[in-house]
């Protein structure tokens, strides 16, 4: 799908938009049933569709508009008007009436007569009322009524109304049966709307939540129909990946549409070379999401995004200073509640009052890390590391990816810059099997020119980091001496299978770096110890869920395999 249509559904052909309209169908039917069943003899219910950017608001508005135009019983008397999200010239009631008069000029081919007529109202105190009255007169004359589909209704229009206009809007909504408004607004995200404004009572507010796994599947299946056979994705085979995609994107339609092709149609991991570009494509969407936030919330999101794993309000407070003072936890909690309500972050409840928070859409978090990573240290590839861990969420597929990657490197066609990026991302991953370290570095080195090799990850430093130096337990020491973290992990699993939970926990506590190296194992242990430490498990990111479950399965298997051994 071209970028233009991704961001601007209005540029899609009507037939294509309708044909591809496969999600949000229930909401569409509900609103349209109401429109179709209303004769507008009396003022009707207005709608305000709210949802984050990329949730399908514009598409829904356009779908409704097209349906009104196509419905025999409506098209004779109901004129649909669509104002797109760049309609910057409607920011007062009077300018709305002016715009509608111009629209009617075009519709009835009056050669601009209606708008021109308002010239005589200029400078009059009740200019707005006069324009409105004139507009209604013209509608009555033609026996027509208007239904306005107004994108960005909150930001472009409502937020700019003066106090008097807001009260006037309510008067109009109470009395006027000639105009109906179906607005859409993304402002829910920063909640600038003051819902105490009495005119909101007249709007039925509909929230667009993220797509479910099933809806994501339906969407991708539909998008696939137009693909050439050789580009088509085997949906059945990718069902699990599509589920992952739904979770990681938070069900945001635009992100799903941007990423599904490059990610799913990628048996060899080649498309990862393009990932940076794909994420760049998401920049307008995500940039808005950040910029829509009030400053304090922006700073909080910054801290949470950079932490990646779930954090508490207190931890956030430690990171934010305002004029030399730490931001109050109370204030942070209030902002967190707001962010949660607006679906930017998600709360992980704990048994105490100190809940933990994480960015809801993991891709958004990845993008954030990419755009805000520190170029000087290893964090610069943190976004790619996090992505790889999320996408290849079980050990087998991660290993398979690494294997494929090595093969791709051997083919010699790999772009040096991508090879470097991936090498760095892989060796920083907790899931990376250190046995593959030498091989990855060697093969990457082969595709690089001499002078590029200095950018390779520092193996020496890594080996040092990977070898946790000190341990009092004989077995652990042995494992480290061999440099085989894999076996160390097996050992941890064995310990769990023998119910040595506290012993293992003590190791993690006294060597915190182990937690980072063996995250899934650590969270598997926390699952087993949940009755004692219920809060710890809630810190686990969604992407670790499946790996941790796999560890637990291994624990169970080991229990059986080693049954009877002393």
């Amino acid at each position: 799908m071209a970028d233009t249509t991704l961001y601007n559904p209005a540029s899609l052909r009507e037939e294509d938009l309708i044909a591809n309209f496969v999600v949000r169908t229930k909401t569409f039917e509900k609103i349209f049933r109401d429109i179709k069943g209303s004769d507008m003899r009396y003022p009707e219910k207005h709608y305000l569709i709210q949802g984050q950017r990329g949730m399908g608001k514009t598409t829904l508005l356009l779908r409704l508009k097209y349906e009104v135009e196509r419905t025999e019983t409506l098209k004779d008397w109901l004129i649909p008007v669509f104002f797109n999200e760049e309609t910057y010239d409607i920011n007062s009631l009077a300018s709305l009436w002016e715009k509608l008069l111009k629209y009617l000029d075009d519709y009835f081919e009056t050669d601009g007569a209606y708008y021109e007529y308002t010239e005589r109202f200029v400078d009059m105190e009740d200019y707005e009322r006069l324009c409105f009255k004139f507009l209604i007169e013209k509608l009555h004359e033609h026996g027509k009524k208007l239904i306005i589909f107004f994108d960005n209704f909150g930001e472009l229009f409502l937020d700019n109304l003066r106090e008097k206009e807001k009260r006037r809007l309510r008067e109009i909504l109470i009395e006027c049966n000639d105009i109906r408004i179906i607005g859409a607004s993304a402002v829910v995200i920063n909640d600038l709307h003051d819902y105490s404004q009495p005119f909101f009572e007249f709007f039925h507010i509909i929230y667009l939540e993220g797509l479910s796994k099933e809806e994501t599947f339906d969407l991708i299946a539909k998008l696939q129909e137009d693909c050439l056979n050789d580009k088509r994705i085997d949906l059945k085979r990718h069902k699990a990946k599509i589920d992952t995609l739904a979770v990681l994107t938070g069900g945001v339609i635009r992100t799903i549409m941007m990423l599904y092709q490059v990610l799913l149609d990628d048996p060899n991991g080649k498309a990862l070379e393009d990932l940076e570009k794909v994420l760049d494509k998401a920049t307008p969407l995500y940039k808005h999401r950040i910029e829509d936030l009030p400053v304090q919330q922006r700073r909080i999101v910054d801290v949470i995004a950079k932490k990646w794993d779930a954090v508490s309000a207190k931890e956030i407070a430690n990171e934010i200073r305002e004029e030399g003072k730490k931001m109050q936890t109370k204030l942070i909690s209030a902002q967190l509640a707001q962010l949660e309500k607006n679906n930017v972050i998600e709360k992980k409840a704990t048994t105490t009052k100190n809940h933990l928070y994480q960015l809801k859409e993991r891709f958004f978090n990845i993008w954030y890390l990419m755009r805000n990573g520190d170029r000087r240290d290893r964090k610069r590839v943190a976004w790619l590391t996090k992505f790889l861990e999320m996408w290849y969420d079980d050990e087998d597929s991660f290993d398979a990816f690494v294997k494929n990657h090595i093969n791709s490197l051997r083919s010699g066609k790999y772009l040096p810059s991508s090879a470097l990026l991936l090498a760095e991302a892989l060796v920083n991953s907790d899931k990376f099997d250190p046995n593959k370290l030498d091989e990855v570095i060697a093969e990457t080195s082969n595709v690089l020119k001499e002078d590029e090799r200095k950018y390779l990850p520092d193996i020496k430093g890594l080996t040092l980091k990977l070898n946790i130096r000190y341990s009092t337990e004989e077995d652990i020491e042995k494992a480290f001496n061999n440099g085989k973290l894999y076996f160390l992990n097996e050992l941890f699993i064995l310990l769990m299978s023998r119910h040595q939970h506290h012993f293992l926990f003590n190791q993690f506590e006294s060597h915190p770096e182990l937690k980072a190296l063996f995250k899934p194992t650590y969270y598997a242990l926390m699952t087993l110890m949940a009755h004692e430490m219920p809060n710890e498990i809630t810190k686990m990111g969604n992407e670790l869920k499946i790996p941790a479950e796999e560890i637990l399965e291994k624990v169970e298997r080991m229990k059986v395999d080693y049954r009877g051994h002393p």
Partner: protein
């Protein structure tokens, strides 16, 4: 019956309020003008619109809303123009030639004056024009009743933009209009609005300025009416529930105003559609939870934000404290209320209690000497969204 949640209920969506309507006519027949009082969202506008559209013989109603009006002259202008364009005046003009001629002459003159005034930057005096219009209404033509919605808000607007003296003059001018010899025994007024009139008047003038208005209170629906209304709302969406379950809903609601019935009907239908199974008490409980979902904030927040206009500073802080306390503890005794008033340095406690009762927030149980929320739904909203 279509669920007109949010909008004034019109046509088929309007649930007949015979008792209240009879009461309004009874007072109108006595010759008095009316202040129609009721907590917000009880259905004042719907009732006014209904009688405007379906008047008794010999009655002509004109509905005007003046919520955005910010000056006295603008107020009379809006009323004047609403009258000129109203069905009522149109009907009278068709029936009586003399009246039609009088109206045409006034309109012609307005055009002339208006243009002159416009050229010279003067201001047409619409109060005088209104008197002139009323003068041309002869008593035997019928009873002309002007319904003015959001009148207290207009006072508030004038107070905000032009100050206390202007607001007081405005109230007095309305009184003068009602008592004008050409108006007094021919034209009647029904004032209403979602802000309470009396506290607003007291802010700028004496209550005597409105003591000629006969208060008529619009009350919640009776149990039978509520039952009938709820069943009709659900039937409209093909949802039928047993009488026992209807009573279960009504018992939970306690205060049966049409708006809350519309809200719960909407949520019951939502639950029914999502779960695709028969409604039971658990489903009803879930629907109540959904009523106070954040998506309904546009329906609830005005309940609390309007208190900003009614009460200032310390009084406002006191009221919010009290409402939160009752939301959490289900009731508040006189003693605790007095204690709160000391905390906030509030002097006129009785006046505040009257408003909270009159505007439908709290009611006083004489048996238990306790204040409680009139509506458990409102209480739940406050607890969920304000007490956190």
């Amino acid at each position: 019956m279509k669920n007109a949640l949010g909008n004034p209920a019109r046509g088929d969506s309007f649930y007949p309020r015979d008792r209240e309507i009879k009461k309004l006519y009874r007072v109108l027949k006595s010759g008095a003008s009316i202040y129609l009082s009721a907590p917000r969202r009880v259905g004042k506008t719907s009732v006014l619109k209904f009688i405007e559209e379906h008047p008794e013989d010999g009655y002509y109603f004109v509905y005007v809303i003046t919520e955005s009006v910010e000056s006295s002259n603008e107020f009379f202008k809006v009323i004047f123009e609403a009258l000129l364009h109203s069905d009522a005046i149109n009907k009278l003009s068709k029936a009586y030639t003399e009246f039609r001629d009088a109206i045409i002459s006034i309109v012609d003159r307005v055009k002339k004056i208006y243009n002159v005034e416009l050229r010279e930057r003067g201001e047409t005096n619409y109060y005088d024009l209104l008197i002139e219009l009323f003068t041309s209404v002869k008593k035997d033509l019928g009873h002309l009743v002007v319904q003015i919605d959001e009148f207290p808000q207009t006072i508030q607007n004038i107070l905000n933009t032009e100050g206390k003296d202007a607001a007081e003059r405005f109230i007095q001018k309305n009184r003068a209009l009602r008592h004008h010899p050409e108006v007094a025994d021919k034209i009647q007024f029904i004032y209403t609005g979602s802000l309470s009139l009396y506290p607003m008047v007291e802010q700028v003038s004496q209550l005597t300025a409105v003591n000629d208005l006969r208060p008529v209170e619009l009350q919640a629906l009776s149990l039978d009416e509520a039952e009938d209304f709820l069943i009709k709302l659900l039937w409209a969406e093909d949802l039928k529930i047993t009488p026992e379950l209807v009573h279960y809903v009504l018992d939970k609601m306690k205060w049966h105003i049409p708006f809350h019935l519309q809200l719960i009907a909407q949520e019951l239908i939502e639950v029914y559609e999502v779960e695709e199974k028969e409604i039971d008490t658990d489903a009803i409980d879930r629907a109540f939870e959904q009523v106070v979902h954040v998506r309904n904030r546009a329906q609830f927040e005005p309940y609390f934000s309007r208190l900003n206009s009614v009460f200032k500073r310390a009084e406002h802080a006191f009221v919010i404290d009290v409402l939160k306390f009752v939301a959490l503890h289900h009731e508040i005794s006189e003693d605790i209320m007095v204690d709160f008033s000391v905390k906030h340095h509030v002097e006129n406690l009785q006046r505040i209690k009257n408003i909270l009762e009159g505007d439908g927030y709290l009611y006083y149980s004489h048996e238990e000497n306790m204040y409680r929320y009139t509506s458990p739904i409102l209480q739940l909203w406050c607890r969920r969204h304000m007490c956190r």
